[in-house]
């Protein structure tokens, strides 16, 4: 009986927590399916209206007066390129750097370690204007390269991979060496397959990180052709229901990725069974 009461209490608390998370998003979604005059007269809505297709299609495809030069569809494309680029670039460079740090005897290893890891303490926000002027000097403003690379200058994934490599038993390398594997073969044929869960987790983490960037795209894209979704939220004009629809669509990709790949993400980050 006590067991039943405590567990009902737990379910109740969890339900309240879920409602706090779901209700705001649901209300914006429900409101996005109404007409602007409805919202302006009656405020945010709890129930669905019947302008779903009309509102969402207009936001996705309309350009000119609404977004001046760019459609929301193009912004999604840009965000996708940016997030994928950040994920792939940072994961590949981190995998390699962590490999060198763990599996090689390097001169000045401690120094190199600190050169790489101290960067975690200096997020992009702290060096935003100098980074911009470096990009301007290199002529990389308004390019996918400019959106991607400075965001990928992060050693967080390196830290995770390094921790993970350290848990791999020494015997693996010994037996690989006996089999005649050289450093590249060992890296590609043994280590990468072993790190699969970790790699997927870091790809998800960096994808969401890249997709959610706001300040950097705001600064480094003066041409609308390179606008991303998250920064576009601030830039766009249009009637209230179209804004709602755009907000709703902007959160779909990262949420979907987190929910669908949830198991891999949690497994990798926490290294649990």
């Amino acid at each position: 009986m006590t067991r039943f009461i405590t567990s009902s209490f737990s379910h109740l608390i969890l339900l309240i927590g879920i409602l706090i998370m779901v209700i705001p998003v649901w209300m914006i979604f429900a409101s996005s399916t109404h007409t602007s005059s409805m919202i302006n007269m009656n405020g945010l809505q709890m129930f669905l209206g019947d302008s779903f297709y009309e509102n969402y299609l207009r936001v996705l495809l309309y350009k000119g007066g609404f977004f001046k030069e760019i459609t929301a569809l193009k912004m999604f494309f840009n965000s996708f390129i940016m997030a994928t680029g950040v994920a792939i670039l940072s994961v590949i460079t981190s995998l390699m750097a962590a490999y060198a740090l763990v599996y090689y005897r390097i001169k000045y290893a401690t120094l190199l370690f600190w050169i790489i890891f101290i960067t975690i303490l200096v997020p992009l926000e702290l060096r935003i204007f100098p980074t911009y002027s470096v990009m301007a000097e290199l002529n990389l403003v308004n390019s996918y390269f400019g959106l991607i690379v400075p965001i990928s200058a992060s050693a967080i994934a390196t830290l995770f991979f390094r921790q993970f490599y350290k848990t791999i038993p020494d015997e693996l390398l010994e037996s690989a060496k006996l089999d005649g594997a050289n450093t590249w073969r060992f890296f590609v044929d043994f280590l990468i397959p072993l790190s699969k869960t970790m790699i997927v987790a870091m790809l998800i983490f960096m994808f969401v990180f890249g997709y959610n960037q706001y300040l950097w795209p705001l600064l480094v894209t003066t041409s609308e052709q390179y606008w991303t979704v998250v920064m576009g939220l601030k830039m766009m004009s249009g009637s209230i229901v179209h804004r709602f629809a755009f907000v709703m669509m902007s959160m779909v990709p990262p949420i979907l990725i987190i929910i669908v790949l949830q198991k891999h993400f949690i497994k990798g980050v926490f290294q649990d069974k």
Binding site: G17, I39, E174
Partner: protein, 292 residues
Amino acid sequence: MKKVQFKSSYSQYLFLAPQLGILLIFLYWPIIQTFRDAFTMQDAFGFGTQFVWFDNFLFIFDDPAYFIAFKFTIIYSFVITLITGSIGLLLAVQANNVMHGKSTYKTLLIWPYAIAPAVVGVMANYFFSERFGLLYHLFNNLWGFNWYESVFDSYIYVIIAGSWKQISANFIFFLAGLQAIQKSVIEASMIDCKNSFRRFWTITFPLLMPTTFFLIIINITYAFFDTFGIIDTTTIGAPSGETRTLVYKAYMDGFRGLDLGSAGAQSIMMMLIVLVITIFQFRYIEGKIHYN
């Protein structure tokens, strides 16, 4: 370090080169420029720069707005850490308690983590708008809430907006921490201590210390840096600069005010703050907690 390693004169550098290259060009070069900016000043016409020692730093210490931003950032990190940490812990403990539906609850509580702070801010905007914002009207009826004018009310606005999604991250990490505690420890404690409330605070919570301190750092970093998108889409510093974080103020001074010297000096001050927090964590906290 591994006992068995590769020895080579060059191939390790090939593996290090891509990351080091990116870090040097896009991280160290800008950091060096930040220092250069911080110690120089542009003349009024933008013709040249002059080395001015610590003048930029003296200017920001003389600026009352800097202390307002400093105060707000400290309050903001503290309150966000407290709120999201305790709600996240509460939910994680309940989710760890239930027999059925654990993974469903996990899924239903994890997704807000993925939403960009700027998107959260735009959403919060709708709930706090004077025209049709539900929370605006609710609070307004309760005590005459008006974030355009009242500093306290604007704090409430940005704290709610800033805490909402961060509860998820705290929940995930606390739940993982709880699940990592060995069953035998919990079972033994159940025999020794019948009161589940006391059992939690004397046995479980101390075992969660590593997770807790990790989350404190995560939440402080979030409040310092990631909330830029929230401030920029909600109050924009309203009523008059009281809800600007240090990062937001540095950005505004550099971007709107074109004062790169001041922005650089403010960035260096923030680097120092982050460094102090990190050292504090390693020195005093890491040494005092038990990892099981």
